[in-house]
Symmetry: C2
Subunit: 396 residues, 2 copies
């Protein structure tokens, strides 16, 4: 039996020699000579899963809730953090409280670099008639519509996935983009007035929240010769195709492999909603890319970081767990499905992870205390000024 | 060639006898003797897919955008509506503008009735220690936790899906529900104070939007002996099991077949976000149930209804399309992925559909003008005062 002690001035610790040895061997707590001090989540875990008892100064046993009571004021999210700790430990792996000064395993890691070309827009003479409340425009020239569709996959020429119809419909991103870069004229089909691309955007912003941020991301990828189409069927803002993709070149329809979702820096999202978008992409086997536009250096905040965690390595032909003698791999942030997350927070977490050479893991506790992990990896879109990350479901 | 005419005072019509006959045979427009008057979406469709020409009073041909210009002021969402019309017609099916006075095919339909039992809560003596920022509580008595889990599937006893651990964790719905109906005492583990269930709810509402509405729905199903657990893994608020389900009775883990999502009446959601939740459920082969709490008679509004549509029937051994000589089947509401929908609007649509004996179809135009259909069917949860609907992906 493990014997722990709790003293309100000193915290939780172990002195009993057998306990100290056992805890040290399993990388619990911080050892100083013959004493080990423990974090609340460590003690809570030891009580529930390693048969530990915690005694107060008078030698009386303290239960889980009574022990937690001493810490919950200072650590309001104690239970969520504890639950993340529990899950990682339950998998036979080691985890420690996060430490700013750590040098993680991935400090020299180069990020995945996406291909990039320079789009060379041409000047085209055509008019796009704008339907203000429908947020669509219709091109007046079939030939231009056909060219834009076949060469750039801009607009929808004819019926989706059918070789039928000759009308070219442009969504609001395409309408603005073509006006800005291809010289297409826009005419408001309600009033007959000419409109500038920025006027269209201003109109759309009134109806569709975050339209500006979405457009910025759209333009960023388009200018690097990516094809960017709606991701509606995959639960995301966009789906993308790498430079060179065309709706007509191949015998059969080519499938996108990536969806692109925009997380405006000022938006706060419920974790459950945020995760839902990743989940749909995962379900249809697409890589989920998150883009955070408009981030400036001053936006970054000092954000939450709960744990640094170790995983497994190959040792003498078998997989063994890594320990604090190895470099940690992940910065783990523990949240619950009913909390919120913001674009700035997420970007700041990623920066903190990067600065310490760790990969970022988000552990989400659902209402049943079951945990889902997502790994976030920064990617490089050459010459982009925005931040992009691949998010993947992760199994420790 | 079909010859249509446009007169600003009169609208769009056809007089040329061959055209009139052809259109009448295919159920376009309204015939009065030897003339047929057409709706803008009908004329637009005929121009693009049936080679129709539209002539102005001087006999000059009018193009798509010029014709639309005359209608877009009065029908701001003209293009979205047209696109829904196009898609239905493209499938070889008939659709007409919605008419309030129609008697649809489903007027005598009885709704799907869900089973219902009366939950008989017992009085239990135990304390739940509440962790305010984690939104969880931990029971003090293992025996009570075990009973609640095994008999009612309330709380998470031990580790999720493992027979390990004896602690019982309660999410905030369960904490409130147990305090209200089972006499469980709640103690704030930060302050040591006793809390009433309504105090907990008040606290949660500050952190988690719509917690009250979610709790109401939770309680509604629980009181009818359903098991209601988090739907996090399926992208919804809850998953449910029919009365009698237990986490321990069977040899293997039983799977839920329904997810339950709450749409508060005052919430406005982007269609794309709304659809994302349905999409995840569909992807994991669960029935998606939408609940709208707190609706009162006075909440219903006069909502949008675009079309009444016909489908197919068996005629002499083959499937033939239905026509206006049959009763229409669906009330079709056309929206785009970038529009918003509210709980009240949706409920009002469902009521309008019900009043006219039609089933409700939502057609969503994405930015590529491709259409996704969802069918909404009212279900009956006996003795509930809330509205519930099954939502299913639909192929015309």
């Amino acid at each position: 039996m493990l014997e722990l002690k709790f003293d309100p001035r000193k915290g939780i610790f172990a002195k009993e020699i057998e306990t100290v040895e056992k805890l040290a061997r399993d990388f619990f707590g911080d050892r100083k000579k013959n004493e080990i001090s423990l974090l609340p989540e460590e003690a809570m875990y030891l009580m529930l899963f390693r048969n530990a008892v915690v005694l107060d100064r008078k030698g009386k046993e303290i239960d889980f809730n009574s022990l937690a009571k001493n810490f919950v004021g200072e650590e309001p999210r104690l239970f969520i953090r504890y639950n993340a700790y529990r899950d990682w430990r339950d998998r036979g792996l080691v985890t420690r409280r996060f430490n700013e000064n750590v040098q993680g395993k991935h400090s020299k890691k180069t990020y995945k670099k996406y291909p990039s070309q320079k789009l060379r827009p041409e000047r085209l003479r055509a008019k796009a008639y704008w339907y203000p409340d429908s947020l669509f425009s219709v091109l007046d020239k079939e030939s231009v519509g056909k060219e834009l569709f076949e060469k750039y996959w801009i607009g929808q020429y004819g019926v989706y996935k059918q070789e039928r119809g000759k009308q070219s419909k442009l969504d609001f991103f395409e309408t603005i983009f073509l006006a800005k870069h291809f010289g297409i004229e826009i005419v408001n089909n309600e009033t007959g007035e000419r409109m500038k691309p920025e006027e269209i955007l201003k109109e759309v912003v009134k109806k569709r929240e975050y339209a500006k941020q979405l457009y910025d991301i759209y333009e960023d990828w388009r200018m690097k010769a990516y094809v960017v189409k709606t991701g509606f069927k995959f639960g995301s803002h966009f789906r993308i195709y790498f430079p060179g993709a065309s709706p007509v070149k191949e015998d059969k329809w080519i499938h996108s492999k990536h969806v692109l979702h925009v997380f405006p820096k000022e938006q706060k999202l419920l974790i459950s909603e945020w995760s839902r978008a990743v989940r749909v992409a995962h379900g249809v086997k697409k890589t989920f890319i998150l883009g955070i536009p408009e981030l400036k250096k001053k936006d970054y905040i000092d954000c939450q970081a709960d744990f640094m965690t170790y995983r497994r390595k190959k040792g003498k032909g078998v997989w063994v767990r890594e320990t604090p003698k190895d470099k940690p791999r992940y910065m783990l942030v523990s949240v619950s499905e009913d909390e919120h997350i913001g674009g700035v927070e997420l970007a700041s977490m990623l920066k903190k992870a990067k600065d310490t050479g760790l990969n970022l893991l988000l552990s989400i506790t659902d209402r049943e205390t079951s945990i889902t992990y997502y790994e976030l990896k920064k990617i490089i879109l050459p010459k982009s000024k925005y931040e992009y990350y691949e998010i993947e479901w992760f199994k420790p």
